[in-house]
């Protein structure tokens, strides 16, 4: 007797077991199971196998005392004849442990929730992940290299590197989109509480139970969300809130002042109690922007700022930046600089006619990667876009500096969900780097402007 099924069905089963099934494939799998009674026993065989393997290997990783065998696989899992007795022994051990626990708790009159594994309860799922995303529980336990489908208990999610994004979904359907260098904490309380330490957050909040709005806290503000779409940019000294739909109540922490921010409005809360706390329709940034590095460098910008001297212009020198992490957690370092919009205003309004120009030099020839972080006019995340320019495209001048000019039409989307530049997209972050080559890049001026026909 052989285990036989059609190649299509077997492929769908494998994709489902490895969490690689897309929606169309899931529908096809369901259709086969619904229409073909002979497929269902094969389906059960497959997923019972999947469950047994997961049970055995996950349990073996928690039972190091069982691994002291002469016949072990490279990953330390005992695969000899002890594979069968091991779980039987564990069954007897659990029965004894549960009986003892039940007796103790019966004396003190407290119910104990029976456990199968000593793992915290997962309360959110990573729907999508790009780049270096990790989770910690605040007690030192850390998980790195997270992938889509990972279920997470309460803790803190950290995104490292400019291109990192993560989408988190809670059981009630509330979705959070994090991007760029962000840190957000969430807990397991029935009333959801988020602490955004830094970064960019967009949220689509499912209607919350009466009297238990979602609470979001930053360094400078606390927001109450009943059920709405909003985005916020959290910095160490200011929080910018944009509400796409619904209403968010914002409280400025420095003085307790509170305002309601309605749909299509924005507000900024900082530590400046003299500043007006008001909700208003956000304006667009200018259509052109130039930075010549004569202005003071801001704390959240990356790179080594060098003020002008009699011999040299003001400029920024590339610094090491975490671009991501490999599977084993090793940071991936790129060399570049970043400029960000702030809570009051983004850098520039982009259009397909926009052109990026930079005056720069480097100690050795190196390709340039230019990356743009974009938000929509309403503050929601609008996508990341990038282009790689090779040295042969640079223009040189007599003073040792070079120029690169790139139309925005050459920039490609980095996130499939945001395949195109949004209309009136606002540039919130510029990252220029020489990838992992430390070429001592220095930039003396960058600009983005509309090209004239």
């Amino acid at each position: 007797m052989t285990w036989q099924c059609s190649p299509e069905f077997e492929s769908l089963l494998a994709l489902a077991a490895d969490a690689e099934l897309d929606e169309a494939q899931e529908m096809r799998l369901a259709e086969i199971l619904r229409d073909d009674p002979a497929a269902r026993p094969l389906y059960f065989d497959y997923f019972e196998l999947h469950a047994e393997l997961h049970w055995d290997y996950a349990a073996a990783s928690m039972a190091p005392q069982d691994m002291a065998r002469s016949d072990t696989a490279p990953h330390g899992v005992a695969l000899s004849e002890s594979a069968v007795p091991r779980w039987r022994n564990r069954g007897r051990l659990w029965a004894t442990a549960l009986a003892v626990a039940a007796a103790v708790l019966a004396i003190i009159g407290v119910w104990l929730r029976p456990f199968t594994r000593s793992t915290p309860i997962a309360i959110a799922e990573l729907v999508s992940v790009d780049g270096a995303v990790s989770w910690t529980d605040g007690r030192g336990q850390q998980r790195t290299g997270l992938v889509a489908g990972t279920r997470l208990p309460a803790g803190m999610i950290t995104l490292e590197g400019w291109g990192a994004t993560a989408q988190l979904q809670f059981a009630d359907g509330t979705r959070l989109m994090l991007s760029s260098d962000s840190q957000i904490e969430f807990d397991a309380d029935p009333q959801k509480r988020l602490v955004v330490r830094q970064g960019l957050l967009s949220a689509d909040v499912a209607p919350q139970p009466a009297g238990r709005p979602l609470l979001v806290r930053t360094a400078t503000a606390e927001m109450e969300v009943v059920g709405t779409e909003f985005s916020l940019a959290a910095e160490s000294d200011a929080t910018r809130l944009n509400v796409q739909s619904g209403r968010v109540r914002m409280r400025r922490l420095v003085d307790g002042r509170t305002i309601d921010v309605d749909a299509q409005q924005a507000a900024v809360a900082s530590f400046d109690r003299q500043a007006e706390l008001a909700a208003a329709r956000p304006g667009l940034a200018a259509a052109s922007w130039t930075h010549d590095f004569t202005q003071p460098w801001k704390s959240r910008w990356r790179g080594e700022w060098l003020p002008a001297t009699p011999e040299e212009p003001s400029r920024v020198r590339a610094a090491p930046c975490i671009a991501g992490r490999s599977v084993d957690g090793t940071p991936i370092i790129h060399f570049g600089f970043t400029i960000r919009g702030d809570s009051a205003q983004q850098l520039v309004t982009l259009s397909p006619e926009s052109v990026f120009t930079m005056r720069f030099r480097s100690a050795e020839p190196a390709a340039l990667r230019i990356m743009l972080g974009v938000v929509q006019p309403n503050g929601a995340f609008g996508g990341n876009f990038q282009v790689v320019v090779l040295p042969q495209e640079f223009s040189s001048t007599d003073d040792g500096w070079q120029t690169v000019t790139v139309p925005l039409t050459r920039f490609a989307a980095m996130i499939l969900r945001h395949p195109q530049l949004p209309p009136d997209g606002q540039l919130s972050l510029l990252f220029v780097n020489t990838l992992d080559q430390d070429a001592a890049l220095e930039a003396a001026g960058v600009s983005i402007a509309r090209s004239t026909p």
């Binding site: 007797m1 199971l33 026993p41 059960f44 196998l49 469950a51 695969l79 029965a95 029976p114 059981a171």
Partner: protein
Amino acid sequence: MTNRNLDPPSAEYLTLITKAQRSLYAFIVSMLRRTAEAEDVLQETNLVLWQKAHEFAPGTDFMAWALRIAQLQTLAHLKKVRRSRLAFDDGLVEQLAEEAIARRDMVEERRTALARCLEKLPPPQREVVAARYQPGGSVQAMAAARQTTPKALSELLRRVRKSLLECIERSLAREAHS
């Protein structure tokens, strides 16, 4: 003998729950297909089994009763997470649950056969299985670590799983004829 509502479950009842864990887990995985979610639903099922200990009549089919509870917890979980109901709607999930419960007596035999079949796998294939099924294991992570593509890893896993399933079938066939 039945337990009063406020008495802790008996040792016999605890033993039944303990023995049922793997089968309950396998059942929930076959409903959800996602092992991480299945662990959560198994915890919820155990809690209900604990709370309803006084409703179970000793001497009756515990496994069937426990699987029904697991079925209800699974359906509740699917409603909670708002997973797409277009594909696996309530009707299909309930049909799968009925048929899974009906074949529960085969699970133990298949489990024993699997243990023997794992021993017969060549070491490289056992290593692939171990890498995939250890905590945190995934096709993407394995592909990155081995510097190959997820598609190539998926194909390898497909062959290994099929090999195990065929081995299990042969083993059961031999048992039936012996």
